[in-house]
């Protein structure tokens, strides 16, 4: 009965979403306040109903109710509880339910917290949000219904793909969807602005925090996915430019651009129309990611649904929402009032540069991801656009962006003084130069670009630190004064600093691990000692072990350096019971200098094994960097105050000012 209640609640949710789509927008058109208010109540009711459905499905998973087709296909009674729960979204139907749940959650949050929004804006926003719900609920109920039943119920389920039975991957989808779906709020606000034909001041005040929340969620989601790929796939890599990865990376890139342009809009009332376009594009890219992953266009771990009918439906959603919003944009954008004006060399100008570079980089990724697919669809030729393409296009775009990052926060609003900023960054420049020289003298051999890449990371880090140092008058005022200024700085200022610092730290990790990685594949007999990257590894053979739902062969390696034992690595190969699948678990020793990463290969004669050894220098910094970025986002989000950018007054009355757009 529980699952049937869940099923009915889901369907009723669709009915409520229909009401939420039609009535508030109708109300906003004819100016009826009561109808507009239905958006608020419907959004909350919709969330409650979908929550009931989600709980019902979770209960079915937890109790192993295989009378549900979806549970039977994706669960097994012997699975650990964590994976029974994460199994709910470890498949196409369940993950769609999570998708609409998060969608409804965000809609409900706008309804509850949006008291200070003008009622007509709020009605339109919730109406658009409701229409997205309608599309996905209809899709789910008709083609991907998680509540379809089996009678009689099979005794045992088929189990969750073991490669997904992993803590990092359990929480990867919720964060990822938090990001994708979070951008729907920015989208709904953008379309609402286009419908009403004006951009309320409350608009920017709202869009920035929501975008920031989505961006944080997506950042963590992507980082988890990459972290998982790193330790689970057993190739020592952390990013493969796989179309599925790109599908989540593109919304992240345009979301990052959106974040910055929304900032300009909130603080300076400028870049309004561009921000609206970017909001539409960002959510469209999220939808496209959903389409790529679920249409069967791609084959990968993520491609749960390889059903062309479903693909066609999602393509329809994508075309209607992106195409509709862009058409609306084309016809209504000129109605909107332009924003403020600013000089090219100003904080606004720097943020425009940021937006240009990021969106161009996003376009590069877009082409690299979609061109092979389009070519295959049209001519049937299969080409592979691998890392070389992305390194040649994405990489060069990141260099000027990273070089420019420290300048942005130093520039004054409206009109800035680039020479003055350069002076303030001199310390960071000196530190960077020293690090580059030191890196050249230490590395000696190896790729000549690597020290420059490291320098880039250091430049971003120290650039970010210099900004705070300058603002608190570090070394120029008494310590008392510095602390007083430090305390009075808004948290959002630290937020930006941490986010930029995180980028710098990540760049260090990326450069370090891609240019100095060391790799060796050896045939090792028990008792043999392998010398690798300064470590001595003694292979002590392989022993079988029994997990809750798998059997494994664990290799034992004792790692010593200079005769002292440092750690024991236990790379293993697992064979899961249901479904019968083999996975590898890498043995990883994490040190600051880098990770020692060992993968157990196939058995050879006389107990010998092939073992792959990797040393990944600085690789941890990649994820530490993303955590710092996340923390920066959190600081900024926790600062609920309004943002006002104080403009710099023109010294000469008639300074040339460029139009904003």
């Amino acid at each position: 009965m529980i699952s049937e209640i869940g099923h009915f609640a889901l369907i009723l949710g669709l009915g409520v979403a229909l009401a939420q789509t039609i009535l508030p927008i109708w109300g906003a058109q004819c100016g009826n306040l009561a109808l507009m208010r239905i958006g608020t109540s419907a959004a909350q009711a919709q969330f409650v109903l979908i929550l009931i459905a989600f709980i019902a499905l979770t209960v079915a998973y937890v109790t192993s109710d295989f009378s549900l087709l979806n549970v039977f296909q994706n669960s097994h009674s012997a699975k650990p509880m964590l994976y029974k729960i994460s199994g709910v979204w470890g498949n196409h139907e369940g993950s769609l339910l999570l998708w609409v749940l998060i969608l409804a959650l965000f809609g409900g949050a706008v309804a509850v917290f949006g008291r200070n929004l003008p009622p007509d804006l709020k009605a339109n926003v919730l109406g658009v949000q409701g229409s997205i719900s309608v599309a996905f609920l209809l899709f789910m109920i008709m083609t991907s219904n998680p509540f379809l039943r089996l009678d009689p119920a099979p005794f045992e389920g088929r189990g969750l793909n073991p490669i997904l039975q992993d803590p990092a991957l359990s929480f990867h989808p919720p964060f990822l969807y938090g990001g994708y779906v979070g951008f729907s709020i920015a989208f709904s606000f953008a379309v609402a602005a286009l419908i009403t034909g004006r951009i309320d001041p409350a608009w920017a005040r709202w869009v920035r925090p929501w975008t920031l929340m989505a961006w944080m969620s997506l950042t963590i989601g992507i980082a988890m996915g990459s972290w998982w790929a790193y330790y689970e796939l057993g190739w020592g890599g952390w990013w493969f430019w796989d179309p599925v990865e790109n599908a989540s990376f593109m919304p992240w890139l345009s979301g990052t651009a959106l974040l910055h342009s929304a900032l300009v809009m909130e603080k300076r009332d400028a870049l309004k129309i561009w921000t609206i376009l970017l909001a539409i594009l960002t959510f469209s890219l999220s939808l496209m990611g959903t389409f790529l992953v679920r249409s069967g266009v791609l084959t990968s771990v993520h491609a749960f649904a390889t059903d062309p009918e479903r693909g066609l439906y999602i393509l329809g959603i994508l075309v209607i929402f992106s195409g509709g919003a862009l058409a609306l944009f084309a016809s209504r954008a000129q109605v909107l009032r332009q924003g403020g004006i600013f000089a090219p060399m100003s904080r606004e100008g720097a943020l425009v540069l940021n937006n240009l570079l990021i969106t161009t980089a996003c376009a590069a990724v877009f082409i690299g991801t979609l061109y092979p697919l389009a070519l295959e669809a049209v001519t049937g030729d299969k080409i592979s656009v691998g890392p070389p393409f992305f390194n040649a296009t994405f990489g060069p775009l990141m260099v000027p962006l990273l070089l420019a990052v420290p300048f942005g926060p130093f520039l004054a609003w409206k009109r800035g003084d680039i020479l003055g900023v350069a002076q303030r960054l001199s310390v960071a420049a000196v530190v960077t130069a020293l690090v580059v020289i030191a890196a050249y003298s230490i590395s000696g051999r190896g790729p000549w670009m690597a020290p420059l890449g490291l320098g880039l990371g250091i430049w971003v880090i120290f650039g970010a630190l210099s900004e705070i140092a300058f603002r608190v008058k570090m070394f120029r005022a008494s310590w008392e004064e510095v602390f007083r200024r430090l305390r009075s700085l808004p948290r959002s200022a630290f937020g930006a600093t941490f986010a930029h610092l995180g980028i710098g730290v990540m760049v260090l990790g990326v450069v370090g691990t891609t240019t100095w990685q060391n790799e060796k594949i050896l045939e090792v007999k028990p008792g043999e000692i392998v010398n690798f990257s300064g470590y001595d590894l003694r292979f002590d053979g392989v022993a079988p072990a029994q997990g809750p739902n798998y059997r494994e062969q664990i290799g034992m390696l004792i790692v010593t350096r200079g005769g002292e034992e440092i750690t024991r690595l236990q790379p293993s190969k697992r064979l899961y019971d249901a479904p019968k699948t083999a996975t590898t678990e890498a043995g990883i020793y994490a040190a600051w200098a880098g990770d020692l990463y060992v993968v157990l290969g196939d058995e050879l004669k006389e107990g010998a094994y092939t073992i792959r050894f990797y040393f990944n220098p600085l690789v941890r910094l990649i994820w530490i960097g993303t955590l710092i970025m996340f923390f920066g986002g959190f600081l900024s989000l926790s600062d609920r105050r309004l943002r006002v950018g104080a403009p710099k007054r023109a010294r000469v009355a008639q300074t040339a000012a460029a139009p904003a757009e």
Binding site: F8, G31, Q44, N549
Partner: protein
């Protein structure tokens, strides 16, 4: 009935919650400009606060205040929006219409969709309920589940494996049966019966192909107990598969001689022998390969086989090649079942054309690239045939 009552309550509650703003009488007007002004006023007070804390200088604060004030004035100037909204409002009808529409449409749409996709008569069936079944035929599953759970915990319990294995056999889960028999063999000691069971399960798991592992086990079995007729049977099949048809035929005859007249396997062996004699030295890989689970495949027709019997050996092999060619042609165009592909690979292998067998294997793998089960069975086949 309870279920429908719950649905009704859920629907009524949801609709009331959604339509509450219409049912409730409240203020009917709003002034959007006021909302704008609130934002600007907030901004002004924020500028003051920042100035007070010394985050921005007083000249910066002054500039910001000027800007914000200018926007505030602009809003006040266009503050007629609310009036214009009130002006074009159709009095009264819209909410009532919405109310009726929602109360009719939402339950109607939900009800129709639920009746299409829902299963209102099906109770929940969680694991706990299935472990306490009400009918007899549901009892084997839970028992097995208990034994399986126990074995996961104590995998060295040989008795458990021995109990479980025949149940697997009955359920035609041959691979699991083979696994269980091999565990029993390892943990409880080697007996001819256990060897035989393991060998037979392995053969059935491989769909009738006697692999090297199976052959060794079966030989061990009859070494200890020559009366294990089923083991004997599969060993002769193995000889057929190896192409030692004369030996196989004489072994069949020996088996018939040894067995009593009523032995249940007699008709099967007789049939087998007859087929072999009729074909005399031709590799009828298809029959052996036919899946024991009962998948019926379109093999060579009776006429084909009869015709083959009357030909000399050159003609015969030409005809077989032709048959295989027909199968290959069909699979190339129409995709085909996994069993047909397996047969094609095996046929090439039996004809001695390893290269063609490998090619067929590659195409088969491409055809079933999406199906892990099929890929696994192709891999196994390749191992057996040494491709």
């Amino acid at each position: 009935m309870v279920l429908w009552a719950i649905f009704a309550i859920l629907t009524a509650a949801a609709l009331t919650a959604v339509l509450w703003p219409i049912l409730r009488t409240g203020e009917k007007d709003f002034d959007a400009a006021e909302y704008d002004a609130v934002v600007f006023k907030d901004q002004l007070s924020e500028v003051d606060a920042e100035e007070a804390r010394g985050v921005i200088s007083s000249s910066e604060a002054e500039a910001a205040r000027t800007e914000v004030s200018r926007r505030l004035l602009a809003v006040a100037g266009t503050g007629d929006r609310a009036k214009s909204i009130s002006a074009n409002r159709p009095e009264g009808h819209a909410p009532a219409l919405a109310l009726v529409c929602a109360f009719v449409c939402v339950p109607l749409i939900s009800g129709a969709l639920y009746l299409t996709y829902g299963s209102p008569n099906l109770p929940d069936n969680p694991l706990a309920a299935r472990l306490n079944p009400s009918t007899d035929d549901q009892k084997v599953g839970p028992l097995m589940a208990r034994v399986e759970a126990r074995l996961r915990q104590f995998p060295a319990d040989g008795r458990g494996w021995e109990v479980l294995a025949p149940v697997y056999m009955r359920q035609q889960r041959f691979a699991e049966a083979a696994d269980a028999f091999s565990n029993a063999l390892r943990l409880l000691g080697e007996t001819p019966e256990r060897f035989a069971n393991f060998g037979i399960a392995t053969v059935l798991a491989d769909e009738g192909v006697v692999s090297e592992t199976a052959r060794k086990a079966l030989q061990n079995a009859i070494k200890g107990n020559p009366d294990l007729m089923e083991a004997q049977f599969w060993l002769v099949v193995a000889k057929e598969q190896d192409g030692s048809f004369k030996e196989a035929a004489s072994d069949w005859r020996a088996l018939l001689k040894r067995g009593s007249a009523e032995a249940p396997w007699r008709p099967m062996v007789e049939q087998r022998l007859a087929g072999l004699e009729q074909r005399e030295g031709i590799a009828p890989a298809e029959e052996v390969a036919a899946s024991p689970a009962g998948t019926v495949l379109k093999g060579p027709t009776g006429e084909d086989v009869a015709a083959a019997g009357e030909m000399n050996s050159t003609d015969r092999s030409a005809m077989i090649k032709q048959m295989v060619g027909r199968l290959a042609e069909r699979l190339k165009d129409g995709g085909g079942e996994i069993e047909e592909w397996r047969r094609l690979v095996r046929s090439y292998s039996v004809l001695g054309d390893k290269q063609a067998a490998r090619k067929a294997l590659v195409s088969a793998r491409q055809t079933f690239a999406e199906d892990p089960g099929a890929l696994a069975s192709l891999g196994k086949l390749a191992d057996q045939l040494g491709l």
